[in-house]
């Protein structure tokens, strides 16, 4: 049986997304929750890139390797790649802010467990 590579990467990305959600929901350590978020983020990026893939396609850079005349059938979709570039940077920014919050929580409570942050629990 022949499985297209985009289906494989799609499945991998969605599996990574599931692992990330599981990590965020079940872990008690804040750092591990942040790692779960990063896994989920990476999974979403893989899914987005694999949606833009066309069989046999190469990077959308039109130079000596890809002729102008045949480019339309030989390159992958550049739009998801550009979106993922944006998403990676924004994920990085969010992760940095979450880590800064973790540093603050550790400084004020002396622990990284979510169970010690009970003030804002409903």
């Amino acid at each position: 049986m022949d499985i297209p590579i985009s289906t494989l990467t799609l499945g991998t990305g969605l599996a990574l997304l599931l692992i990330g959600i599981w990590g965020m929901l079940t872990r008690k350590n804040i750092i591990r929750m942040i790692i779960g978020f990063s896994l989920m983020d990476t999974g979403i990026h893989i899914v987005m890139v694999s949606i833009g893939y066309l069989s046999g396609g190469t990077a959308p850079i039109i130079n000596g390797a890809v002729e102008r005349a045949t480019a339309l059938t030989h390159v992958v979709d550049p739009i998801p790649s550009a979106l993922v570039l944006t998403a990676i940077v924004i994920g990085l920014g969010i992760t940095a802010v979450m880590l800064a919050f973790a540093v603050r929580i550790h400084a004020s409570k002396g622990s990284l467990s979510i169970k010690d942050c009970t003030e804002s629990k409903w």
């Binding site: 959308p60 790649s81 940077v89 940095a96 802010v97």
Partner: protein, 230 residues
């Protein structure tokens, strides 16, 4: 117990949904109409071989400006949060960070200029090869991280970093406005000559924009790293 059960149900439902998505996924047979336009007309319109760059910098330039803004905002929030906590709660046990081994220090001294040069290469060639401002900036910040690992007491000059960051952000918006006045619209790159297709100084304002983005991202991430170090 109930909570665990709920989490399990949620994960099973998600897995069911993702399973269907994966199994019934049909790879598109051709590019979408918008992507077809970008691939067919992009090299002539903007003069940049790397189409991802032309989408990021010009066709979707406004999104990239927003992205740079988000990054700036997160750097500011990190700085604010960590500066608020700097005065209090710092236990006395947090002694001076121990210096790393001589091997790491020597290697860092040799590698740092090369890493910075490589980062610059990546963002200057962003319109020709895979790469661009964000990637180049991240490479530069990784060089700074190596510096901090090797010499934990090294400091950056905040004034210079802040000046460089603000100037490049200002320059980015200025280039966008020049495009609005001199060419077709905001962040249009065609107010500079497109030049020879595939050479370093080509594709109008794209190399200028990516250089500014690279400087901005590099300095921003470096200052975020330094704030975490303190």
């Amino acid at each position: 117990m109930i909570k665990r059960l709920l989490i399990l149900i949620l994960l099973v439902l998600f897995a069911r949904m993702f399973y269907d998505l994966t199994v019934h996924y049909q790879e598109p047979a051709a590019l979408s109409p918008l992507a077809t336009h970008y691939v067919a007309e992009g090299p002539d319109e903007l003069g940049a071989p790397n189409l991802v760059t032309s989408v990021v910098v010009t066709y979707r330039g406004l999104d990239t400006l927003g992205e740079v803004t988000v990054l700036f905002l997160s750097a500011a929030v990190v700085g604010l949060l960590l500066a608020l906590g700097a005065g209090e709660g710092r236990p006395e046990s947090a002694a001076e960070p121990s210096a790393s081994s001589e091997l790491v220090q020597t290697l860092a001294q040799y590698l740092l200029p090369i890493i910075l040069l490589f980062g610059t290469y990546i963002f200057v060639n962003g319109h020709l090869t895979p790469g661009g401002g964000f990637q180049g900036g991240a490479v530069i910040a990784s060089g700074v991280l190596l510096l901090f690992l090797a010499l934990p007491r090294a400091g950056l000059r905040h004034g210079l970093l802040a000046l460089l960051e603000s100037l490049s952000g200002f320059g980015y918006v200025l280039v966008g406005l020049l495009g609005l006045v001199l060419a077709g619209g905001f962040l249009d790159n065609r107010f500079l000559p497109l030049g020879d297709y595939g050479s370093l100084f080509s594709a109008g304002a794209i190399p200028v924009i990516y250089t500014l983005i690279g400087l901005k991202v590099g300095t921003e991430l470096s200052s975020v790293l330094e704030r975490f170090k303190q």
